[in-house]
């Protein structure tokens, strides 16, 4: 291009802005939200105060925020693996359900087992169920060239319908049948299968497990051979194949692991929060859209497992605060869903700043080029 060196005069400042970009964008979205609140007849300052109070205002609120963010983190970890492996997994919803169902089934089948045995077993089963639900689209893509966006979306609905079927029929709580109310939920698990609480709040061990797993996923992706190959396939499948990597296997592995973490997230949800499984029939009734929000959390975390941790809890805060907002100010939680969407759009759009900055750094001065050519020719 032949322009002169165009490094910014204020690299430090720009780096700070870069890091703060998601926060700045979020504030911009919240400003739009304030306008919407005014139109709804609510005081924005009061509303946001209710939001923050709802998410961080007390020990219980803080605990709820962390608990709400846990399934997002689990799905998000899976998304980090999948996207890094070059596959787009939209199936988090279905994989969550699959894992939760499997864990539920085991917990109900073995009510007399002690906690230290039943909990790990349920988690393993949830992990495996999610792995299967993710592995299917993986195999379909690798060996039948079925696009994974299509298959994961379809499998979401299939999982939800399967869940509805099981919870209305074979797995329904016998108590429901007795009282003839037929609410589609299972019996409550035995207390042994409850994940222990970390502090006397609703915060449960699952959150800690998720954070530890995030570190393990980081190590897996950047410090093991399998993780390296997953990333290689994601960056350049052709070059990877040329280098001898069996691309098909790693496509399957990426989606399989992605589903597995979502499945484990589902297991943690039933073991730590709900202690039973339930549905309202809709596609996101049980999961609370954690399958979609997890994707967003992973992308906010720049597809890095460690970055996904704060991103997930931030989203958890937004969701928890929304409940408080609805209760305190009669603002429908639908506003928060819309605001959620705006935050996502603003944050993702703001990355154009970082990209422009990165491009400027790569521009080379023309004086250097002829000298380099002379070197090469000599």
């Amino acid at each position: 291009m032949g322009t002169s060196l165009t490094l910014s005069k204020y690299p430090q400042l720009e780096r700070i802005v870069d890091a703060l970009l998601p926060a700045i964008a979020t504030l911009a979205a919240l400003a739009v939200g304030a306008v919407m609140l005014v139109l709804l007849g609510a005081n924005p300052l009061e509303a946001y105060r209710a939001l923050i109070e709802g998410a961080f205002g007390s020990r219980n609120a803080l605990a709820d925020t962390l608990v709400k963010g846990t399934p997002l983190l689990m799905v998000g970890l899976g998304i980090c693996i999948a996207f890094r492996g070059g596959v787009i997994n939209i199936g988090g919803e279905g994989q969550l359900v699959a894992g939760a169902l499997a864990a539920t089934w085991v917990a109900l089948a073995l009510p007399h087992w002690p906690g230290w045995a039943i909990i790990p077993l349920c988690m393993v089963v949830g992990f495996l169920a999610g792995a299967v639900w993710g592995g299917i689209p993986g195999a379909l893509k690798a060996y039948f060239n079925v696009n994974e966006i299509l298959s994961t979306i379809m499998l979401n609905q299939i999982a939800v319908q399967g869940m509805n079927f099981l919870l209305r029929g074979p797995m329904i709580d016998p108590v429901q049948l007795q009282v003839a109310s037929r609410i589609p939920q299972t019996a409550r698990f035995s207390r042994a299968a409850d994940l222990p609480r970390l502090v006397p709040t609703r915060l449960h061990l699952g959150t800690g497990i998720a954070v530890i797993l995030a570190v393990l996923v980081y190590i897996f992706l950047w410090r093991t051979t399998y993780g390296y190959r997953i990333r290689a396939v994601g960056l350049n499948p052709d070059a990877s194949r040329y280098a001898g990597i069996r691309v098909e296997r790693y496509i399957v592995l990426s989606l399989l692991l992605s589903g597995a973490f979502a499945g484990l997230g589902g297991a943690i949800q039933v073991l730590g929060v709900h202690h039973r499984m339930f549905t309202d029939g809709s596609a996101t009734g049980f999961t609370g859209s954690a399958g979609f929000n997890g994707i967003v959390a992973a992308l906010f975390g720049k597809l890095h497992p460690l970055g996904t941790i704060p991103a997930s809890f931030l989203f958890g805060a937004l969701l928890v605060g929304a409940n408080k907002l609805q209760r305190a100010m009669q603002v429908p939680s639908a506003l928060i869903t819309a605001l959620n969407g705006l935050v996502v759009v603003f944050v993702v759009s703001s990355e154009i700043w970082s990209r422009r900055r990165a491009r400027r750094r790569v521009t080379v001065a023309p004086e250097a080029a002829p000298a380099a050519e002379a070197e090469v020719a000599a």
């Binding site: 939209i90 994707i295 967003v296 869903t337 705006l342 996502v344």
Partner: protein, 310 residues
Amino acid sequence: MISDLFSAQVLIGILTSGMRLATPYLYAAVGETFGQRSGVLNLGVEGIMLMGAYAGFYAVFTTGNLLLGLLAAMLVGGLLGLFMAFISVTLQAEQGISGIGVYLFGLGMSDLLFQKTLGTVETVSGFPPIHIPVLSDIPVIGQILFSHNVLVYGAFALVPIAWFVLNKTTLGLNIRAVGENPEAADSLGVSVSRVRYFTVTLGGVLSGVAGASLSIALLNVFQQNLTNGIGFIAVALVYFGGWRPVGVLVGSLLFSMVNALQVWVQTLGIPVPSEIAVMMPYVLTILVLVIAVQRVRPPTALTKPFERGE
């Protein structure tokens, strides 16, 4: 009771329902096909459909004018499509994720507006069926093909129009070029961003119509999350159809016919668990793809933002 399924009356009923049910999928998927052919993935179709459904419904509910409802849906859909185009083309945001953001926004906004302006679930008199003279009197075929409301006809008419535009016009050539090789298109003087703005906005308009087809034609009602995943299925159908309008038609019909079948199966009391029946269209779609084993490539530039002079 299974034998009931094979009576002429029921079969005609299934085929007719299948045609109707395909309508929202067709509008949304054909619209998305334009966008994806030009290189932009819009996962927010579901959200745009919901906003279009609400806008159309509210307009009809308050004015009783169906045309106004349709126009309202198209306008709202177009605005959201324009928004999506701005995010994806000018701001070059990551397309999959920004689509989900638009989805969440549309989901929440439509519900919020519904709660604040309507409050309870209401019904409207939507588009009535129009029996095409002469043709609708043909036995069997007449009922299946020629006795639908105007939005259903529009959805099916859209397919050959889209095929023609994409394959036989300069605009279509530009769209395809921009999706396959934006650098080359740019060097030949085609404005990549203008083409993409057009296709994504058009996709938004059609998604809005798709939503309206539910709220003021097929179901005549609006409620929270009316579409319940139809928009996402429509995006999936674009992949199924190999990014071709005819393929999208085949996929939409396949999906909707099986959907209609399972509804009738349940209505007739055939002992299939309802949830298993509801699953059938999704399972079948995957199976067909596996069996068909297409080697169809997506547009090369799909999801990749384009910057001049890169």
